[in-house]
């Protein structure tokens, strides 16, 4: 939380102003009961109507001032809270964009999203409250107490007693409810989980006729939630009556003690009435502070800590201070030299000692079971992670010694799941090169076998694509992602399992068209299906992070048992050529 204070620095003047205004407001508010007591004692009891009028006019003046101050507080406070939140949001976003996969793995995407959205809102809310009630309440509480003591120091203990009783009541309620609030969140999650499972498993449940079983499962979760809800509700409905008793008890006590003091001429009646009002103000302030501290401060503090964690995390992949140049003579050349990789904190290597060269005009394929390190190789080439050992060179330069921007500019990367962005077909296809011509965009779509789909749409390239491409099928998404990479006209293509959602027929046509148009480029294909890669110039077979075979399809069938195993599970005997 302390780390976030700097976001308030630009507003130092505003904050001082807000605090001053709040202080002024509290003073006015505190002065009103005092004036009222003068009306009673100096006016009513003395029978002076002129005094009543003049004091009344003063009250009016202070009431007006007290009404004016919060307008300023709202104005400056609102701007400060919103402004600090904006700066915070901007910095978090920029920071997270600089993160690579390692940081996303560590902090998790879902958590990063919450930190950039909800957590900022929490902090903003606390700031807003801090600019208002949170500062006003203590001033009011302390001021009220001073005023009350001023009226009658000997009755001060009544306020002390009331505040003590109030704090005890709130503490007991908090102790009873707080642990259950956490629990209830878990139970509600569980209830939601069962509901979701019931919906997603609808067919299975009906097929196995386990409706009753599911109903029981739901009922158990439902009962758990209900039970704890009832408890918390009952604690809550007890707290408010108790607080009421404290308030009313205080006023009765003030009159009882006050009348004794008045009888012995220690206090005037108007002062006693003013004392009562001050006592109420003090109790109200304490209640407000207690509620804020019990309900909001801890949450905002957690949010603040989570935000600070993002802001202090450094991206593990950094640009070099003096970047080197690529060698134009080696355009498209990719070289892995003894590359090993292991995740931060992991014992085992994901990739071990991988060396290969991918040349322009050739297709290099990487195949292997899940977890064999195929995608890791692509991620290292893209510099989403840095190698643990060895080095990767692109066009003659170590990827760590050039700017990330320049490196990625050279590579047309097609991620596994397509990954489209919300916008239009055009904004997606031209994402890598906004200046690309429409003709080339159309041609790329044609090569990627997606032009037919686009032509069917009324708005063609202006058709809407919803977030993460949810309104197109998996296969269409992959083909659009391929077209997007083509539009960029890169010297190097990386297809990370980019054909898996395509049916065999489309897969074949697409690959044939691709081959024609990427002839001068370096093509790296990662695949699970042998059919996709059996024509590659070189096939690398990975198993548990190690290279276990290298060669063409025909060679590998004879020399590499792992490859044969994969191939035989996917192809029939005659297709294996045996």
């Amino acid at each position: 939380m302390v780390k976030l204070v700097k976001y308030l620095k630009p507003y130092a003047f505003g904050i001082i102003l807000v605090l001053a205004l709040l202080f002024g407001q509290a003073m006015c508010d505190l002065y009103l009961p005092n004036l009222m007591s003068r009306i009673i004692d100096g006016g009513v009891l003395a029978g002076r109507t002129d005094y009543i009028l003049s004091t009344g006019l003063r009250m009016l003046f202070f009431a007006f001032l007290s009404g004016l101050a919060p307008v300023g507080v709202s104005f400056f406070g609102g701007r400060i809270a919103a402004g600090a939140a904006m700066a915070l949001r901007r910095d978090i976003f920029a920071k997270v964009l600089s993160f690579t996969n390692a940081e996303f793995d560590k902090l998790s995407t879902a958590s990063l999203i919450t930190r950039s959205t909800n957590d900022v809102t929490q902090v903003q809310m606390l700031l807003l409250m801090g600019m208002g009630g949170l500062c006003y309440a203590p001033v009011m509480g302390i001021g009220g107490f001073i005023m009350a003591m001023n009226k009658s120091p000997s009755m001060g203990w009544i306020i002390g007693l009331a505040v003590l009783a109030l704090l005890m009541a709130i503490t007991v309620a908090y102790l009873l409810a707080a642990p259950r609030f956490e629990l209830i969140q878990k139970l509600v999650d569980k209830l939601n989980l069962v509901s979701r499972e019931n919906l997603s498993g609808m067919m299975v449940i009906r097929a196995f006729g386990t409706r009753e079983y599911e109903e029981n499962r739901f009922d158990t979760a439902n009962k758990d939630v209900t039970k704890i809800n009832l408890f918390i509700n009952r604690v809550m409905v007890t707290v408010f009556p108790v607080i009421n008793v404290i308030f009313s008890g205080t006023s009765i006590l003030v009159i009882w003690v006050g009348s004794r003091q008045a009888a012995s001429a220690n206090i005037q009646i108007g002062d006693m009435m003013a004392f009562m009002q001050y006592a109420m103000q003090v109790i109200m302030s304490f209640m407000f502070i207690a509620v804020i501290f019990a309900a909001f401060v801890p949450r905002a503090a957690v949010s603040g800590a989570r935000i600070a964690e993002v802001l202090t995390t450094e991206s593990s992949v950094k640009d070099p201070e003096s970047p080197k140049n690529f060698a134009p003579s080696q355009k498209g050349l990719v070289e892995f030299v003894n590359v090993s990789f292991r995740y931060h904190n992991a014992d085992a290597y994901t990739l071990r000692d991988l060396s290969f060269t991918a040349k322009p005009g050739e297709m290099t394929a990487i195949i292997g079971p899940t977890g064999s390190g195929k995608s890791t190789a692509a991620n290292l080439l893209m510099r989403f992670y840095d190698v643990t050992e060895g080095r990767i060179t692109v066009e003659g330069a170590d990827v760590r010694e050039v700017l990330q921007h320049d490196l990625r500019q050279r590579i047309g990367y097609v991620p596994q799941k397509g990954v489209l962005l919300s916008g239009t077909v055009e904004s997606n296809l031209k994402y890598g090169d906004p200046g690309a011509s429409d003709e080339w965009m159309e041609k790329s779509a044609e090569i990627a076998q997606i032009l037919g789909f686009i032509d069917e749409k009324e708005d063609r390239f202006q058709s809407e694509i919803s977030q993460s491409g949810a309104n197109v099928s998996g296969g269409q998404r992959q083909r659009l992602a391929i077209a997007r990479a083509l539009v960029k006209k890169p010297g190097i293509f990386v297809f990370d399992d980019s054909f898996s959602a395509l049916d065999f027929k489309t897969d074949t046509t697409l690959r044939r068209a691709l081959k024609e148009h990427t002839s001068g480029s370096t093509v790296i294909v990662i695949a699970q299906r042998v059919g996709t890669i059996m024509n590659a110039d070189q096939i690398l077979v990975l198993d548990k992070g190690r290279l276990v075979g290298r060669g063409t399809h025909g060679e590998l069938l004879k020399t590499c048992p792992e490859y044969y195993e994969i191939a035989s599970s996917q192809l029939s005997g005659e297709e294996l050529g045996v």
Binding site: M36, I39, V44, I52, G56, M59, A63, S66, V71, G77, G78, M86, R90, L97, S98, T117, T121, L128, G133, M140, L193, M202, M203, V204, I205, R206, R211, Y213, E215, R217, F218, N222, T226, L230, R234, T238, F240, I243, N244, V245, S248, G249, S251, I252, W256, S259, A262, A263, I269, M284, M382, L421, G432, Q467, A481, D503, K505, E565, S572, E575
Partner: protein, 612 residues
């Protein structure tokens, strides 16, 4: 709350009045909700009376307390001195009133908490049971999120409104009426002055709310944009980085962020004005009372105790008033939530079972035969995708269903298990129309292994046992062995008792599939429905799955959504699906000879391989 308390300070986040959603038929929904409460509605009535009662007692107390002050003033200015016995009696009287009020309030709250939790419990239970009675076609048009929102948000809204808002409204109304009456008994003039402040406050509040709501809406809108952009960019960060999209993304975010800032501070400002504005009017009233009260007291038309009581009343007046202002909002959103819940509960359910259900008729020892007779079907009546499909399947035969993605390969399965009813023709099992068989009996014939292996949050053993709920531990183990997954399960931390967590993330996709196979094996069905797709599974697991599936299929009638060539070629019947309908049917040889869509599909995958 009693005493001369100041107007409550602005609550957390300011009084953002969220524009509530409205019920289309307010009266109807309210009536349904009352009916739904059944016997509890009388208890609710009692609670309402108690709430009003508590308010009345609390309102009466300041008036009594005022007499103590008067007695004190009288005593101070008379020769006899202050009569403390009398003051003591009055104070005890006041204390008793407050205590009774508090007690009644507590009983009311206690009862209402019970009623509310019971109501929400029953609503959730009924919704969850309704889930299983709705036809599958209902879920074609309704998203999971919508249904979930009924169980969570809508029930929650109803619950909160019952436990807090509605009783608050009742006691607010009682308080406002009671206070008005009490104030009138003290001074008509002063009461009129106080009542005059109400329309002023209302106009001012309406003005502020109108402005504030406008900015609040746009704040919510841009918060949505900002959050949406964050979500999208974080989710797609590899693509963003790969295409150097960071800068354009930051620019777009900056625009949203800037707009959000503008509407946020305005919204903060205007909603922050609400309390000072009403507080100011309240203070004006306070001053007016001091003035008028002071004059009247000097003239002897009023006592000091009266002024004290009046001040207490005025302070209590504003809060219930502002609550009453929200009545319509609260009631509207409750009614809207109730309307959605009852609409869901009232949805048309699956067709009732046949009046005179027939047993499944096994015409041979080998099992049941299945016949599709002139079947026509469409997901909507105006779009028939299957027309005049006929096929007769003998026990033990293997039917392969092939076709490109999105061609509707599961449709036949859904008809067969009667998740959907045919639009024309009939599906016969053992010679009996399946519409004449009880659904449970029909579905008991089938075992299903689908591509998205559905497992729930429970132990592995429970998940396997799902196929036959009464199965013993030994049976579960045997099924797992047959499904090639026993070894894997035993390597897990708690073995068969390991709990699969959300989305079963601690077990790989392939192993999940093996578990669902074990489940089907345990069910020991006569007819199998299998989805072979193993796209995201590594080779070794895939081999395990194939072995397990072969074990499972042995000697059973099976419908297979086929991806493996061996399956397709050995099938007794191949159904080729295209655009939702059946494009071709026949055996592998027949279909190849036909040289149609199947032949095209089949050949395309090996074009490249011919050279090998």
């Amino acid at each position: 709350m009693s005493g001369g308390s100041r107007p409550a300070r602005r609550g957390p986040g300011g009084p953002h009045i969220v524009p509530g959603d409205k019920a289309r038929d307010f009266k109807g929904s309210a009536k349904k909700l009352i009916e739904y409460m059944g016997a509890y509605k009388w208890l609710v009535l009692v609670v309402f009376i108690l709430a009003a009662g508590a308010a009345v007692f609390a309102i009466y107390a300041p008036k009594v307390l005022a007499r103590a002050t008067d007695e004190l003033v009288y005593g101070l200015f008379s020769a006899g001195g202050v009569d403390f016995t009398k003051i003591g009696r009055i104070l005890l009287h006041t204390g008793a009133l407050y205590l009774i009020s508090t007690l009644v309030q507590w009983i009311q709250g206690y009862l209402m908490a019970g009623v509310t939790t019971n109501l929400t419990y029953r609503l959730r239970r009924d919704i969850s049971q309704k889930l299983h009675r709705l036809p599958l076609s209902y879920y074609d048009a309704t998203t999971q999120g919508e249904v979930l929102s009924r169980i969570t948000n809508d029930v929650e809204t109803i619950g909160v409104s019952f436990s807090q808002s509605i009783t608050q409204v009742i006691s607010s109304v009682a308080t406002v009426i009671g206070i008005t009456v009490m104030m009138l008994t003290i001074s008509v003039t002063m009461t009129l002055v106080v009542l005059c402040t109400i329309p002023v406050t209302a106009v001012l509040a309406a003005f502020i709310i109108k402005r504030s709501q406008k900015y609040f809406k746009s704040q919510q809108e841009y918060l949505g944009h900002v959050n949406g952009h964050v979500e999208e960019m974080y989710g797609a960060h590899t693509a963003v980085k790969a295409f150097n999209g960071e800068k354009s993304s930051e620019e777009k975010f900056g625009e949203y962020n800037q707009t959000l800032y503008k509407s946020a501070w305005k919204s903060n400002f205007f909603s922050g004005l609400m309390m000072p504005a009403t507080g100011f009017i309240g203070n004006l009233g306070y001053v007016a009372i001091c003035l008028i009260g002071g004059y009247s007291a000097v003239r002897g038309a009023m006592t000091i105790g009266d002024i004290q009581a009046f001040i207490q009343y005025v302070r209590q007046f504003t809060h219930p008033l502002s609550q009453m202002a929200q009545v319509s909002n609260v009631l509207q959103s409750t009614a809207a939530a109730a309307e959605r819940v009852f609409k869901f509960l009232g949805e048309e359910e699956e067709l009732p079972e046949a009046a005179d259900p027939k047993p499944v008729n096994r015409r041979s020892d080998a099992g049941v035969d299945i016949e599709f007779k002139d079947v026509a079907f469409g997901y909507s009546p105006d779009k028939i995708v299957i027309n005049g499909f006929s096929a007769h399947i003998r026990p033990g035969q293997k039917i392969a269903i092939v076709g490109p993605t999105g061609a509707g390969k599961t449709t036949i399965v859904k008809l067969l298990m009667r998740f959907y009813d045919v639009s024309g023709g009939a599906v016969l099992v053992g010679g009996t129309d399946i519409r004449e068989i009880r659904r449970g009996d029909l579905r008991a014939l089938f075992g299903m292994v689908l591509q998205d292996a559905w497992l729930f949050n429970g132990t592995i053993a429970d998940n396997i046992r799902y196929g036959r709920l009464g199965a013993s531990g030994g049976d579960v183990r045997a099924a797992a062995e047959a499904a090639q997954v026993d070894h894997f399960v035993r390597t897990l931390p708690d073995g068969y008792d390991m709990i699969l967590n959300e989305e079963a993330g601690n077990v790989s996709q392939g192993q999940k599939q093996l578990l669902t196979i074990a489940r089907a094996i345990l069910a020991d069905p006569e007819v199998l429905i299998l989805d072979e797709a193993t796209s995201s599974v590594d080779t070794r697991t895939e081999l395990l799955i194939q072995t397990a599936m072969d074990n499972l299929m042995h000697g059973r009638t099976s419908f297979i959504i086929a991806h493996r060539l061996s399956t397709v070629r050995n099938a007794d019947l191949i159904l080729v699906m295209r655009d939702g309908g059946i494009a071709e049917q026949g055996t592998h040889v027949e279909l190849l000879q036909k040289n149609g869509f199947y032949a095209e599909l089949y050949n395309s995958q090996f074009e490249a391989g011919v050279s090998v």
